[in-house]
Amino acid sequence: MGTQIAFYTLAAIIVVSSILAVTAKKMMRAATYLLFVLIATAGLYLLLEYEFLFAVQLTVYAGGILVLFIFAILLTSANSDRAEPGDRKKIVSGLVTALAGVVITTLVTVKHKFLYAPPVVTPENEITMEKIGHALMGTGRFQYVFAFEILSILLLTCAIGGILIARKR
């Protein structure tokens, strides 16, 4: 019962805040609604019992990316923060695309018979910090040291690229 209340609350927060985030006229409000979506998503991870993912979602998304967004909005908001005149054609085409996509995807999801048992977290399949560390740093099967290193190169490249693009000339 408790999980159900938590799930429905989080789902409502996610859907309502997502709609508000893409329709808000002021960019600062859109960023705030995005923050609500990201925190509710972290709640879903906690409900699925991925505690590490919950922590990463909160620190990287809600802590890092959102601060970056707010900086960018404040740096560029001089004359672009006002209400943008609605382009009716774009809004209609977006609505049609989104509604068609939701209907098709939901139909496929509901029609498809997923075979799964109720997920129970046992001591064997519980994802502990030790298992995550071994999987991130190991070179064997189901271990990810290569992807981890590639990711660190990507982040370094992005840091250098960001500085190069945004510096004053």
Partner: protein
């Protein structure tokens, strides 16, 4: 227990709300926020499939983890580009940005 389809419906709605925002918004930062919504819904999906269909593995969780890191890198570069565009043209409206040089 909450059926898996409920989680999938939430992430489907989030994905297509992001698609709607991507098509209809004019501000470059709003477009970027829509992209973040799309990426976030995909990451939820990875962990849902992992938890419900393959509870003994953790591939889905690592896909989500790497996805979060990649979207962080992507938004950092995109925001650098947007700030640079703002510096040269004084606005970030997608309709006004139609020249590569000025």
């Amino acid at each position: 227990m909450i059926p898996m389809e409920y989680y999938l419906t939430v992430s489907t709605l989030m994905f297509f709300i992001g698609v709607f925002g991507f098509i209809s918004r004019k501000n470059l930062l709003a477009v970027l926020i829509s992209i973040e919504l799309i990426l976030n819904s995909v990451e939820i999906n990875f962990s849902i499939f992992n938890r419900y269909l393959y509870p003994d593995h953790m591939e889905g969780m690592f896909f989500s983890l790497f996805g979060i890191a990649i979207s962080a890198a992507e938004s950092a570069v995109a925001i650098a580009v947007i700030i640079n565009i703002y510096r040269t043209t004084q606005n970030i409206d997608v309709r006004q940005i139609n020249k590569m040089k000025n």
